[in-house]
């Protein structure tokens, strides 16, 4: 029974920590035209916290003291915002929050019951989580397997594993992935749907049904990329609508964290950077400024990795002699068909993609914003590029990796589907 109570306490801790520093009072002061829902506030805070975590993960910091600081700060911010919080209890927000708590708690309990880590988690992610669990830093990665892999997801795992208030068990750290995933699902709906609309619970249920793969909560990091892409997608839409630079800052922070979650996050970062520069900002000085910021971030990333680990590596060198095999058209076509076939199979595993194609067919591509179409095209080019580039056997590699890549990338396209349904008055 204590374990069940401790899981619920962990959920409340997450809710507490990610309710600051931004709350409705602060966001109103930033002149944001959007009337933020509870989950939009959570999403903003998740983004800010992840950015801070990505920075402190490089240094030796007593995580217990940092955690204590977070709790005190969160309580202080809630005290400052107490009037708004009382207001929230009168709105639909409190009902949606209750639904969120019930779903989160049931997922948390299911993870506790499953008590299982899958392959990649055991092969390398847990070693990094152990480093943070034992108050280490990125500097301790040198002797670990796959030390060049990014660390942010394992920082979260180790941090919340260590700082369980009742008693720490390994899986307590992984619950944060579920929390973020569910925040992103509720974030998509925002304030557009009222809780007592017929479609609120149906949409939540449908979104979970279309995107949930419980297997990936067994120590994989893919949902963190998914969550960040959900945030970025909606934030870009809000920026284009309201032109408030606060959104632009949040988009950058989210994109930055992508680089520190998984290796492919680096390429998502570049894709988001290009998307912003080409489609979101209009003035030339803004375009130049954004380009510089993204380029400097890439330099900082390579510098930090080189400084702490000693190399800025990926699984394989980006350019290698094996690429010359594609000068033979038969090899090229053969690889193209194998990749396409496995993409097709994986699309059925995550039906959100089938839903997307259905929306394109029914409402045609004009319903989408230009940047969404651009992302869609460049994302698939990126998928093909990954598999054309690798020197590993495609028939071994594709079945175990392509589905996860497709899940990550779908994060960006879920909000557009919801938006189109909403505009077309499906809801």
């Amino acid at each position: 029974m204590i374990e069940v109570i401790s899981i619920f306490v962990q959920l409340l801790i997450f809710c507490l920590i990610f309710s600051y520093p931004f709350n409705k009072t602060v966001l109103v002061k930033l002149n944001l035209p959007n009337n933020f829902s509870l989950f939009e506030v959570y999403a903003v805070n998740v983004t800010v916290h992840l950015f801070i975590y990505s920075l402190i993960s490089f240094f030796y910091i007593n995580l217990k003291i940092f955690f204590l600081f977070e709790i005190i700060a969160a309580i202080f911010f809630i005290y400052l915002n107490r009037k708004k919080i009382l207001e929230l209890t009168k709105l639909d927000n409190s009902y949606s929050f209750f639904l969120f708590l019930i779903i989160s708690f049931s997922f948390f309990i299911a993870i506790a019951i499953a008590a299982r880590l899958e392959w990649d988690a055991l092969a390398h992610w847990i070693f990094k989580a152990q480093v943070y669990f034992q108050n280490g830093s990125y500097q301790d990665f040198k002797s670990l397997p796959f030390n060049y892999y990014p660390q942010l997801g394992t920082f979260l795992w180790g941090y919340f594993w260590q700082n369980d208030l009742i008693y720490s068990i390994e899986y307590k750290g992984r619950l944060i992935y579920v929390f973020f995933y569910l925040v992103s699902i509720f974030f998509i709906l925002g304030k557009d749907l009222k809780f007592f609309s017929v479609f609120y619970p149906v949409t939540i249920f449908l979104l979970i049904l279309l995107t949930l793969d419980f297997y990936l909560f067994s120590g994989y990091q893919d949902y963190l990329i998914f969550v960040q892409l959900v945030f970025i997608s909606k934030l870009i839409y809000l920026y284009k609508k309201d032109k408030n630079n606060f959104y632009l800052i949040l988009i950058f922070l989210s994109s930055w964290t992508l680089m520190w979650i998984k290796q492919e996050g680096f390429f998502y970062f570049i894709i988001i950077g290009i998307t912003l520069v080409l489609f979101c900002v209009k003035k030339i000085n803004q375009k130049i400024f954004l380009t510089l910021i993204f380029l400097i971030s890439i330099i900082i990333k390579s510098f930090l990795q080189d400084f702490f680990i000693g190399s800025f590596n990926f699984n394989e060198p980006i350019f290698h002699d094996g690429l010359f095999r594609y000068l033979d058209i038969t090899n090229f076509l053969n690889a193209f068909f194998i990749i396409s076939w496995h993409i097709l199979i994986a699309l059925f595993k995550y039906p959100i993609w089938l839903m997307l194609f259905l929306v394109i067919i029914i409402y045609n591509k004009n319903s989408f914003e230009n940047y969404e179409i651009f992302y869609f095209v460049i994302y698939f080019l990126f998928i093909y590029a990954i598999y054309f580039q690798t020197s590993m056997n495609l028939k071994d590699l594709l079945p175990v990796t392509i589905d996860r890549l497709l899940l990550q990338g779908s994060g960006f396209l879920i909000f557009p589907i919801f938006r189109i349904f909403y505009i077309k008055k499906i809801f």
């Binding site: 204590i2 069940v4 008590a115 092969a123 480093v131 034992q134 280490g136 609120y200």
Partner: protein, 130 residues
């Protein structure tokens, strides 16, 4: 409008009970099986699959002062569970070794510099001869 509210009410209640049913069932399971290690052994095996149970027992019994290297003879099927026990401030031991899923004893000949300290079915804790 009234009809919509009724449908919403029943959908929300239905969703709540569907989630709750699964939730109660899982909570009941946790209360019945409160030992997390027992649940890990159920998932990762005692002396089969990843051999979590055997490795855990060795760590508990000998309280090793170094990280121990694990060799799983079915490593193409199961990953290594040493991450569960990894201590960042310790180096890897040169004189101790855990072997898992060693069904054919002839492979023990490859470890002739070692003596068997513990053995349970196909799992071994080996220690280097002095």
């Amino acid at each position: 409008m009234k009809l919509k509210k009724y449908i919403a009410f029943y959908l929300i209640t239905g969703l709540f009970f569907t989630v709750s049913y699964k939730l109660y069932f899982n909570i009941y399971n946790i209360i019945l099986n409160p030992d997390y290690d027992a649940r890990l052994i159920k998932s990762h095996g005692y002396c089969d699959r990843e051999g979590y149970g055997f490795v855990k027992k060795m760590y508990d019994k000998y309280n090793f002062s170094k990280n121990i290297k694990i060799i799983n003879f079915e490593s193409n099927l199961y990953p290594d569970v040493s991450g569960f026990f990894y201590k960042k401030n310790l180096t890897y031991s040169d004189d101790k070794l855990i072997l898992l899923n060693l069904s054919d004893k002839k492979y023990l000949l490859d470890f002739k510099d070692y003596k068997i300290t513990e053995n349970y079915k196909s799992c071994y804790l080996l220690e280097k001869n002095d």
